[in-house]
Amino acid sequence: MNILVCIKQVPGSGNVEVDPVTGTLKRSGVKSKMNPFDLYALEAALSLCEKEGGTVETLTMGPPQAKEIIIESVCMGAKRGFVLSDRAFAGADVLATAHTLSQGVKKCGTYDLIFCGKQTTDGDTAQVGAEMAEFLELPGVANVLSFDEVKSGSVTLKASLDGEVVRMTVKTPCVISMDRDVNMPRLPSYRVKKGITDDAVTFFSLQEMNDTDANHYGLLGSATQVERIFPPKHDKERRVVEGSAAEQTEAIFDLIRRKKLI
């Protein structure tokens, strides 16, 4: 069983702010970390391989420093990992990111299962995994909770779907997006970290992809364009509700109705 886990480096804190005057992102000195949702995918892949045999490798796309999370994944038990890094990949939307990752997957090797996290904490779209599966022409299942049976050529699993738990058998290779909170991700091993060698991380640039047309990557390959970014409006009103109990009740009721809670 060979598994590739797609992971992403995200800002260590969600507190990114827009400068209301210039409309640009405020600089923040926060450190980066592995997307927390990816940890569940990585843990699921590692424990599956411990049971069934095989290896786990990891893939990310980002700036050169994204290799930090590949090293972290190796310290957690992955055999090695890959970083797709090229200036041509910058500014990618969901479509261009998914295309880049699918090209990267083909470059990395052949796998029975490709794991993703449910979503990222910065982009927060929960769509890249599914679009990548489409580009790879592989079946995909999202919100996977657990694996019942792993056979050569298929996996039987449980996945969450809008209030239901669905049990299904999926032919491999396939793309699995793990749900959150489905396991307890292990901690990186300090001993592995001490002994890590340079060949644990491999970089790929645009020129090493099967598709080397820069128009399919990054900003040029993106179908969506961000026209502007702006701070959210706070339309909240702080108020003191005076009057009788009946009047106060009515004020709360009005708010409940406006918030569409009933």
Partner: protein, 398 residues
Amino acid sequence: MGKLIIDQSRVTPEKADSLTGVCPFGAITYADGKLSISAACKMCKICTKKTGGVIRYEETERRAVDKSLWQGVTVYVDHRGGTIHRVTYELCGKARELAAVTGQPVYALIIGDKTEAIAHRLLRYGVDKVFVYDDPVFRGFRVEPYTAAFCDFIEKNRPSSVLIGATDLGRQLAPRVAARCRTGLTADCTSLEMKENTNLVQIRPAFGGNIMAQIVSAYTRPQFCTVRYKVFAEPEPGEEKGEIVSMTLPPEKALSAIELLSSEEKPKDVDISEADVIVAVGRGASGEKELAQAGELADLLGGVVACTRPLAENNLFDSKHQIGLSGRTVKPKFILCLGISGAVQFAAGMKGADEIVAVNMDRTAPIFDIADYTVVGDVQEILPRLIARIKEAKAHVQ
């Protein structure tokens, strides 16, 4: 569309430091007398304004599709077991508004098994045509046959915009279809607006909701977006109008690598940290009667009951229901705090809520410092009245 060009002739070792410092993402590096931009670049273009012309932005021309060939706003109908997910009606209402700007039709797309009743219901929501792929192969959601049917519909009808509910199903289907069409998809839009040139202006929160981004897909069609439930208003149903169009997908296109074995209702595990609506009770509302009423109110609002630490310690609630530093952190859209004084430890666990309503007899209670609605009053008076008022409103709707 474009790229960043570096004028290396104007880069000097003395200037290098100030140039690399300009980028908020650390993407500009200087080595061997050359300035370069790494993959960390987010194309925010700050560097074009702050490097005195060393880095400039060059537009590259990009050809758009012929937009006049793409007409209409399509709503994907999310349904299960003969019930339409309400987000679908909300999207129909929005689609009607958007289509009115360009004078284009509104379509609904149904993929499923035994969907006749559903199709008729949609005709009451201002949909001009309901396209139906009805076949046993669509019983239970499997991504490949659904994607194939969706793309078959797009190929034959060429809608300009497609709105999809951000349910678990919608979140799996939308990216598949958008990727196959090689077009844009914007997740979790909170606002949609149609331009006369048929560009759909999509606004969504980015970076954890601290920033709003305005997004368009100006060069490709269709324009896909997903929208969460309860973002738009649900329209009132009217008379049945419009047409139902039956569609078929060739069986060889409906193949799947997925075999569905069984499905069961998910056990409802109470997780207050995920709840959108919370009725929280403290010592001022810990009587048997108030607790029962708080539970009833939470049920009426589709929310959960949570409590302060003293109530959890007195075993009135399981600790899973406790808000605060020693309990859970919550971020609901609405929290009603009943008889809670609002100690800092409690406030730390819930001040991220969108709307905080606090009812307390004590005018000086610290909870009122963070409350959006300050209600100085008696929980025993207000709580039963509120329940009665909501029941009355619900009875009226039915």
